[in-house]
Structures are given as structure tokens and as C-alpha cells.
């Protein structure tokens, strides 16, 4: 914690350049893929070593040429969920997309925003609405936060999830206004009840009718509202602009992204975050914020290394990525739900609490059980992950003992396997180790 408090912001946010003191290593490449993607396979790690941090991050940030085609294909798959009430199939498709996408950073940030704009299909009860909601998030996950907020407050799934399908001038819906201010933008404690009531008036006239957003002008309160020292006949767009003018909004979002990409264990100092917050507040460009964080000295420093607990999605997909397989994502989604991360069903309007809430005695055992299920040759995952095939593919080029190969692949650190352990047992030990549970 002390380290975070005393860091020099100029050094912290300057791009990392490999040096003798801070060389570009397998460990740093693995760290990058754990945070900016869902883990890496051996080829990706080796390529990263060859390309160096700048080119590797370029590859993660720049949407590849085939991304649009990939997303079109997967949007089409998503549509196959039809008008079902359950989002089970949709979550299976999302997990598959996370595994196969040529731009994993985009999905990583989509997962981040899913917890930020937390909407549960337990309330929405429509796979079609949840599909639209996720598509909307994905479209701006690395785009403009301003646009994302503006679009989200008109999204049918979000409005149903917030119990805000009706906003009449005779009874402004404060639920959406409160969540918008306290969770989506400023953060808790930055606005008074009076601010929330005034903001709610600006959202009157917004309805969801037959699954679509509808603005009914006669239900809109076009009178003057007073908000953060400004007065006028504000609309919802105006309110969002005013909220984004408040320094607290940029601070709130930058802190959240910092915890997601860099460090959730120690809160950063205000002075450390000030340059990022100022830059982000200019235009709310997510891509630039993420890029600055990923390229930074701080990101590749010891202060951020393994300073996050993997969420269940990261934990499971890390194994699948490393072993270059594809498993039943229908089954995986169910198992992840048992681990506490039921996609499309965040537990509260504030999303998943994350951090140490992911880990307790029960979930640790469940994580180990999931690892066992994924790695065993039969059972619900039908032996789709073949550790021996990966060994055959790479171990001879890696020129190292089998267990050490997997330690390098998944942990990027040395390990001493117990004598006489089988490959499967060594691998199981690795993926159930405390280190593998950390991002």
C-alpha cells in the first residue's frame, strides 16, 4: 500500500521500456495477457517475447482486420437464442466469443462494463433484450464512455432491470437517476437526494413499450431543474453531460478501471491518479485510458504483479486458452455460476463485488473441482482439453521438463513437481495453486 502512495505519477504512467533492471520477460508477457485478455497460449507468449511490449500491446489494442467479420458471425450466433426467456444459451455464446475473439481486450472490457452497468436477466427475463444490451456495451467498451452512458439509459434491458420502464412527470422514477449518479457516474456520496430528484425529472417521458425505448413528450417534465449549480429545462442528455462535467465521474471510472486492469489490492493515491483522471475527463475516451494503463511502467511493475484475484471467468478461460482447446461453454457457464459469476445475472445493481469476495473455502474447492473437471479425460467436458497434446506440440521446443513447461505456460515461474507425479497431477497442482488464482 505504501508503494502505491509514494509512486511518482510521471514515472508510473510513462511507457514501460525494457531495461536491464526491468527486462521484458515471460512473466511480464503472461501478466499482460492475464489482464488485457483471458490468458495466453504458448505461441502467444513466445511471440510476445519476440515482439516486445510495445508491439504486443499494439496487437491487443488495435482491432485486427478480421474482428468485424468475427463479430458479425458471433452476432449471428447470438441471434440464435431467439426470444427465449432464459439467457443460458447467450452466456454460453459469450464465453465462446471470449475464447475465440481476435480482440480479447474488447471482451475483457465488455465483461468489465457488464459488472458496471449491472443488469440481471433474473429481472429482465429476455435473452433478446440481454443480447441487445451486451451488443451496446461491446460497441463502446473501448470507445466513448459518454456515448455509452447516453445509450445505456435508453437500453430496454437496463430500464427493465432498474424497474424504470415508466418515467412520468407526475411520478419521476428516482431508481434510474440514483443508480446513474451513484453507480454509473459520480459514485456514492457525491450527490444529494435533491440532485437525484432533479435528475429524475429530466428522465421523465422515457418509457419502454413492447420491448423498445420510447420517448413520450407529454410525459416529460420540461420545467427548469437545478443540478450541480446549473439551472435549465434539462433533458436526460443534458443531465448526463452535467454529470460527466463533474470531476468525480472521471475519478470514479478511472479508479474502477485501475482496479480491473492494474491493482485491486491497494487503493492508489489521488496524485497518482490525477494525470489519468484529467486526461479521461477531457473526452471520456476509454481506449486512450486503457492504453495508457497497459503501456505504463506501473502496469509492469511489482506493484501490480498478481495484485488481483481472478474472477471465475478469468480462472476458467485461462486454463482453456493455455491448453488451446474448446469446451462446452454451456456447461462452463453453469459451473461459473456455481462459482459466483453467473453471466447476465450480476447479484446486485452494483455488479459483482469481486476482489476477495471471489475466494472463500467453498469457492476454492469449487475452483479445484472445475479444474479437475476441465482437465480429466471424460465427464461433462468430454476430455476436450488435451494437456499431452500441448506437451507434444511445444515441449520439445521448450526443451524443459513437462511440469516446468506447464508452470511456464500458466504461472511463468519455476516450480518443483513432487517426485513421481504424473503430468496430469502436476498440471492440476499448477492450476489450483494460489498463484494461478491471481491475475
Amino acid at each position: 500500500m505504501d508503494t502505491q502512495q509514494t509512486l511518482d505519477p510521471n514515472w508510473a504512467w510513462a511507457p514501460y521500456r525494457p531495461s536491464t533492471e526491468h527486462p521484458w520477460t515471460l512473466a511480464r508477457a503472461g501478466h499482460l495477457y492475464r489482464r488485457a485478455a483471458f490468458g495466453a497460449n504458448w505461441t502467444q507468449l513466445q511471440q510476445a517475447l519476440v515482439h516486445g511490449p510495445r508491439k504486443t500491446i499494439d496487437g491487443l489494442l488495435t482491432p485486427p482486420a478480421d474482428l468485424a467479420a468475427f463479430n458479425r458471425t458471433y452476432d449471428d450466433y447470438d441471434r440464435s437464442v431467439g426470444s427465449s426467456e432464459s439467457a443460458d444459451e447467450l452466456r454460453a455464446w459469450w464465453l465462446r466469443r471470449m475464447l475465440l475473439t481476435p480482440c480479447p481486450l474488447l471482451e475483457k472490457m465488455t465483461l468489465f462494463w457488464h459488472s458496471h452497468f449491472a443488469v440481471s436477466n433474473g429481472v429482465v427475463k429476455s435473452a433478446a433484450f440481454m443480447r441487445q444490451y451486451l451488443q451496446l456495451i461491446r460497441s463502446q467498451a473501448l470507445g466513448s464512455f459518454h456515448t455509452l452512458v447516453q445509450d445505456m439509459v435508453h437500453d430496454p434491458a437496463l430500464l427493465i432491470g432498474m424497474d424504470a420502464i415508466e418515467n412520468r412527470k407526475s411520478r419521476p422514477n428516482e431508481s434510474l437517476a440514483r443508480t446513474l449518479i451513484e453507480d454509473f457516474t459520480l459514485g456514492t456520496g457525491a450527490a444529494t437526494d435533491q440532485d437525484i430528484r432533479q435528475a429524475a425529472r429530466a428522465f421523465t417521458g422515457n418509457f419502454v413499450r413492447r420491448g423498445r425505448f420510447l420517448f413520450i413528450e407529454r410525459e416529460h417534465d420540461d420545467g427548469d431543474k437545478q443540478l450541480f449549480g446549473q439551472t435549465g429545462p434539462f433533458t436526460d442528455k443534458d443531465v448526463i453531460s452535467i454529470l460527466l462535467e463533474q470531476p468525480a465521474t472521471a475519478e470514479h471510472i478511472v479508479h474502477k478501471v485501475y482496479a480491473w486492469l492494474l491493482n485491486e489490492a491497494s487503493p492508489p493515491s489521488d496524485s497518482l491518479m490525477a494525470p489519468l483522471t484529467r486526461s479521461f475527463a477531457r473526452d471520456y475516451n476509454m481506449s486512450r485510458l486503457v492504453e495508457t494503463m497497459l503501456r505504463s511502467n506501473l502496469f509492469f511493475s511489482e506493484a501490480c504483479y498478481r495484485q488481483r484475484i481472478k474472477c471465475p471467468v478469468e480462472y476458467a478461460l485461462g486454463m482453456v486458452q493455455g491448453l488451446e482447446g474448446m469446451v462446452s461453454t454451456t456447461q462452463l457457464a453453469t459451473d461459473l455460476a456455481a462459482l459466483g459469476q453467473n453471466l447476465f445475472h450480476p447479484p446486485t445493481l452494483r455488479g459483482w463485488p469481486g476482489k476477495e469476495a471471489w475466494i472463500n473455502q467453498a469457492t476454492l474447492i469449487q475452483r479445484a473441482n472445475l479444474a479437475h473437471a476441465l482437465l480429466q479425460g471424460s465427464g461433462p467436458y468430454q476430455g476436450k482439453l488435451d494437456a499431452r497434446a500441448i506437451l507434444e506440440k511445444y515441449a520439445h521446443t521448450a526443451n524443459q521438463p513437462d511440469a516446468q513447461f506447464f508452470a511456464d505456460l500458466f504461472l511463468q515461474q519455476a516450480m518443483t513437481p513432487a517426485s513421481g507425479e504424473s503430468i496430469e497431477q502436476s498440471l492440476y497442482d499448477i492450476v489450483t495453486s494460489p498463484e494461478f488464482n491471481l491475475a
Partner: protein, 581 residues
């Protein structure tokens, strides 16, 4: 691969020697066998499976079409060609001569498995065995291992083993193969000692054998008294007590298995049809007991013939007295009482306070029929993304004059409730219409397409256009008006013919393979995507998997099943007709 093929093909031994007249195979099977499969006339099955039409059908299988790219298949083919050359005969002739005398496979307690094969040509058997012996020894030699083949004498017979685990022997033209040496010893003891009793002399086996028609090409005997002690099977048999729907549909079947001590299944091969006739010694079912609602009481009672409609995929016909079934609910499902009371109260709303048992179910005759059929979609409206077959329920009423209007009112209330609930969720509701079909006015409901985007497939709800029709004394509830119209025609034909029930059969089922194939084809896209996320397959793997499923379904022309009580035995008959053209 070659070696495995050879081992599977058979394991043969010893000199041809003097021809011994051998006892029936089952006499050498221990009398505690829990399962015994006999093929007394394997040639009938071999001829069917190796016929030109079967081979032609095989060529349609996608996996077979890509066989030449599969190295394992090439290896297998090399092995077959080698054997044909060594035995100086074709593989088809070799199989016929090596197995033509009959095959028996038995499973005994302690995981013992015994296989006996009687060859028609003992010399061929010996030659094959010698080839296998040589190959196993050569392979061991090539790998630097010592000779793995072991042999020992027991009761005057040489027993062999290739790996120390399996054991086999040849006596005359008979090959005996066991998964463990002790199983082979048991067989040899049964052969040598007069005091030992084989399965052939066992009372239950003999009763089962008698129940099987003499012209059967094969027979399966199962010791149900023992098998029912397997926890999974015992749990499955208890399902009927926990689930009222399972209790209704599988009544008579579950009770028969619970009551039986043995089951026999006779296999009959007729040109392009395989028929399985099963018998169980459970005729002591109490017609007056709780499960009696599924047992035809008089000789001419039973399930009505299945109804035939255009595009019919499956049809089911049950003899079930709903009045007696629901009346016995407390005995049948004691743990479901509160749920059933809630259900009964709900039904009271639909039926305007009438008592479900005495005033509703008592109005129906003891017949339940279901029909599943392909849908015809109106091209002007479009086609849903996922095509769900239409399904219908057909009952007959005791007094249609008074009950028709009660059923109609209940149905309209149900549609109203659906509309109200959907309206609460902002979803479009059903519009009720009353068209006339062949002089029958019926009621249907449909979703409007006015607000649907014409450029995309219709939402799944457009698979449903519920209908109720009450022609003659029939009550038809259908998921689509199209099927309702077809069923009106079907029951009108039936009413004109004074149809007779199937004598003492309480369950009849039919499946049309071609219609099933058609509905699978219509939903290929949905099945492929489902397979991708459920199995973790690539799109190509998923397509191959679904293609294989469709090809296999295509090979089925029809499946017919009947279950009932005949000559104091429970009888089930399954006829599987192939479409190999």
C-alpha cells in the same frame, strides 16, 4: 488396429481334431447369468447387414464418405485384405462360416463376460487362430518383449491367453472367449461335470425361452429379479411414483417391470425390418389396484389405433382412465398431494368450479392419444427461426352434448390468461378466431404478424396457433390450427369406420423416420449452433455430427411399439423398419 480386429474377429485354436457333438451353448453358461444374448441364426442378421442395399445406405453416411482420409480406416482395410488372402476367402464368407453355428454372449455376476461362437467351418477357425497367434508373437518379438501368449490345460482342454487377462479355448467348432480366466474355468467345468447346472436348465431361463417364438433369429434373456437390485435401475423404477406425468404415461410398463422376475426378447429379421418381441412374467397386476387405470379390463378393450395425419412424425395412443388415475392420486403420489391440490384448484377456475375428478375427468373415455406432426407455414407470413413440430392431444367424451361447451369455455379462459400474462410483460397476445373446417366449427388463436419485421425469420411464438375442436364426441387440443384441421379429418374418418381398439394393448407408439428427418433438416442451423456450445465443437465438427444424426434418422422408415398383456404375460413389440433405398 489389425491385431485388435483379429482378436475381435475371434481367437482360435487347436487342431481341428475329431468333430465333437457339442451341447447347446447355454448349457455351458452359468445359471446365475443376469443377461444372455443368443443369436441362433446369425446369418439372417449378417445377410441383412451386408446386403447390397445396406452397403448402398452405408455409402451415404458422411463418415463413410471420408473414410479414405482416415488412417485408422486404411489400417483396418489392410488388415481385412491380409486376412482375406490368408484365409483364401472373402470377409463376408469368413464371417458367415465363423459364426454361422450361433453366438451367445452372457454377463454374470462379478463382471464376468462369456462369449461363445460356433463356427460352421472348424478348419477356418483353426487357421484364423493360428494367424492371430503368429501375429501376437511377432508383435511381441518386434517390440522386444517375451512371448505374451500363455496356455494351460484344464479339464482336458487347452486354454489360451494373449495378455494374461482374457482367456479363450476352442472345443471342436466352438470358440469360448471369457474376459477373465475364472469365467473360462466355469464354462469348462459346466461342460465336464454332470453335477453342474447351466443356464439352459434354469427355470426362469426356460420360461423365458418358451415365451420366445421358435422362429426368432436371436433371443435376449434378462434376470430382472437380480438386475432390479442395481441402484440406478431401482431409482428409475421409482420415478413413476414421484412424477405424476411419468406415472400416467408409463403406467402398466413400470408396474410390469417391478413385478417381473425375467424378461425375454426375441429378435426377428424380416427383409428390411427388425422386430423385437419382449415378454415379462408379470401378469399379476391388479386391475383394481391404483395402477389399474392403465389395464384394459375386458378382452376387447385397449388403446385405440394411432391417428394418421399428413406429415405425422410420431403418434402415441394410451389406454388410460383419467378419472381412475386422478381418483387414485393419493395412493399413487402421496408426496405430491399439496402440488396436486393447487393444480386442482387452478383447474377449478378454468372449469368454473367443477370438480376435476367427478365432473371433468369422468367425462372422458379411457383413451389418450397424442400426435406430433410437421407444420406447414404460410409463405406469406414467413417461417420461424426454429421450427417446432405441431402437437395435438385427442380424447373422446362420454357426453359431448353437455361437455363440449365446458371444454370450449375452459380453453378460452386459458387463452385469456395467457394473453393477460403476456400483456403484463408487454408482449403481443393471441387473437381468437372461429373458422370452419369440413363442417366443424372450431376455435383457434393466433399472433398477428402486423408488427413483425418481414426481412427476418419469424419469432418462435409463430410456431404456436393453439386450437380446440370438438367434432363428433372427440376433444382435440392442438398447438396449431393446421394440425387441428388434419385431426378433424382423421377422427371423422375414424368415426365413420367404427374403429376397434387394439386387443389388450395399453400403449401404442409410432415414429415416422422420414418426417423426423424432415424436421431435423428444417432445424439444422439451430442444432448446429446448439451443438457448438454444448459440445465445444467447431462449426464444421458440429455440422458433421448433425449430418450423421440426420443420415441415421434417414435410415429409419418407421418404428412401431405396442405394449400390453397377452396370455398371462406382459408383451412389448418393437418393429424397426429400415429405409435403405
Amino acid at each position: 488396429m489389425v491385431r485388435q480386429f483379429l482378436c475381435l474377429c475371434v481367437v482360435l485354436c487347436q487342431t481341428a481334431g475329431a468333430v465333437e457333438s457339442l451341447a447347446p451353448q447355454t448349457q455351458w453358461i452359468p445359471d446365475n447369468a443376469v443377461l444372455c444374448v443368443e443369436l441362433s441364426n446369425p446369418k439372417a442378421l449378417i445377410d441383412m447387414l451386408t446386403s447390397d442395399t445396406a452397403f448402398g445406405a452405408l455409402q451415404k453416411v458422411p463418415l463413410y464418405q471420408t473414410r479414405n482420409t482416415n488412417p485408422k480406416f486404411k489400417e483396418f482395410l489392410t488388415g481385412v485384405k491380409f486376412l482375406e488372402a490368408a484365409l483364401e476367402t472373402s470377409w463376408k464368407t469368413a464371417i458367415r462360416k465363423l459364426t454361422g453355428g450361433g453366438i451367445t454372449l452372457a454377463v454374470c455376476p462379478d463382471d464376468l463376460v462369456i462369449l461363445m461362437v460356433d463356427a460352421e467351418d472348424a478348419d477356418l477357425l483353426t487357421r484364423l487362430h493360428n494367424i492371430v497367434l503368429t501375429m501376437v508373437r511377432t508383435e511381441a518379438d518386434n517390440q522386444g518383449h517375451s512371448d505374451r501368449v500363455a496356455s494351460a490345460e484344464y479339464l482336458g482342454v487347452t486354454g489360451w491367453s494373449f495378455d494374461g487377462k482374457e482367456a479363450h479355448a476352442i472345443i471342436g467348432h466352438r470358440l469360448i472367449f471369457a474376459n477373465k480366466p475364472e469365467a473360462l474355468k466355469t464354462v469348462l467345468e459346466l461342460r465336464a461335470r454332470a453335477d453342474k447346472v447351466g443356464l439352459a436348465s434354469q427355470v426362469r431361463y426356460r420360461a423365458a425361452r418358451e415365451a420366445t417364438a421358435p422362429d426368432a433369429a436371436g433371443q435376449v434373456y434378462a434376470d430382472l429379479a437380480t438386475l432390479k437390485q442395481i441402484p440406478d435401475l431401482a431409482a428409475a423404477l421409482e420415478q413413476g411414483r414421484a412424477n405424476p406425468l411419468a406415472g400416467l404415461l408409463f403406467a402398466g410398463i413400470i408396474e410390469s417391470i417391478r413385478d417381473a422376475t425375467w424378461m425375454s426378447v426375441g429378435l426377428h429379421v424380416q427383409h428390411d425390418t427388425l422386430a423385437f418381441r419382449a415378454h415379462l412374467d408379470s401378469a399379476n397386476l391388479d386391475p383394481k389396484g391404483p395402477a389399474g387405470f392403465a389395464l384394459p379390463g375386458k378382452p376387447n378393450e385397449g388403446a385405440l389405433p394411432n391417428l394418421s395425419v399428413p406429415g405425422g412424425i410420431a403418434s402415441l395412443s394410451f389406454y388410460r382412465d383419467l378419472f381412475r388415475f386422478y381418483g387414485a392420486k393419493d395412493d399413487l403420489f402421496p408426496e405430491r398431494t399439496s402440488g396436486l391440490i393447487f393444480f386442482e384448484n387452478m383447474m377449478g377456475i378454468f372449469f368454473s368450479g367443477r370438480d376435476l375428478t367427478d365432473e371433468v375427468l369422468a367425462e372422458t373415455l379411457p383413451e389418450i392419444r397424442f400426435v406430433v406432426a410437421q407444420q406447414q407455414y404460410d409463405p406469406a407470413l414467413g417461417t420461424p427461426q426454429v421450427q417446432i413440430p405441431a402437437f395435438g392431444l385427442i380424447l373422446r367424451l362420454r357426453d359431448e352434448q353437455t361437455f363440449d361447451i365446458v371444454a370450449e369455455e375452459a380453453w378460452q379462459k386459458a387463452v385469456g390468461l395467457v394473453n393477460f400474462t403476456r400483456g403484463q410483460q408487454g408482449m403481443p397476445g393471441l387473437i381468437i378466431d372461429r373458422p370452419v373446417h369440413n363442417d366443424t366449427k372450431f376455435t383457434m388463436a393466433y399472433f398477428s404478424t402486423a408488427t413483425v419485421d418481414k426481412d427476418t425469420n419469424l419469432p418462435t411464438r409463430f410456431n404456436i396457433r393453439p386450437a380446440i375442436a370438438l367434432p363428433h364426441n372427440y376433444l382435440i387440443l392442438s398447438s396449431t390450427d393446421g394440425l387441428a384441421r388434419d385431426l378433424i379429418d382423421a377422427v371423422t374418418r375414424e368415426a365413420q369406420q367404427a374403429v376397434q381398439p387394439a386387443n389388450q394393448d395399453h400403449t401404442l407408439a409410432e415414429l415416422n423416420g422420414q418426417a423426423l428427418t424432415a424436421i431435423l433438416r428444417a432445424n439444422v442451423r439451430a442444432m448446429v449452433t446448439q451443438n457448438m456450445v454444448e459440445k465445444g465443437n467447431t462449426e464444421e465438427e458440429a455440422k458433421n455430427s448433425i449430418d450423421l444424426l440426420i443420415t441415421l434418422a434417414q435410415f429409419v422408415d418407421s418404428v412401431k411399439l405396442s405394449i400390453g398383456t397377452h396370455q398371462s404375460l406382459t408383451r412389448a413389440e418393437l418393429a424397426l423398419k429400415f429405409n435403405l433405398d
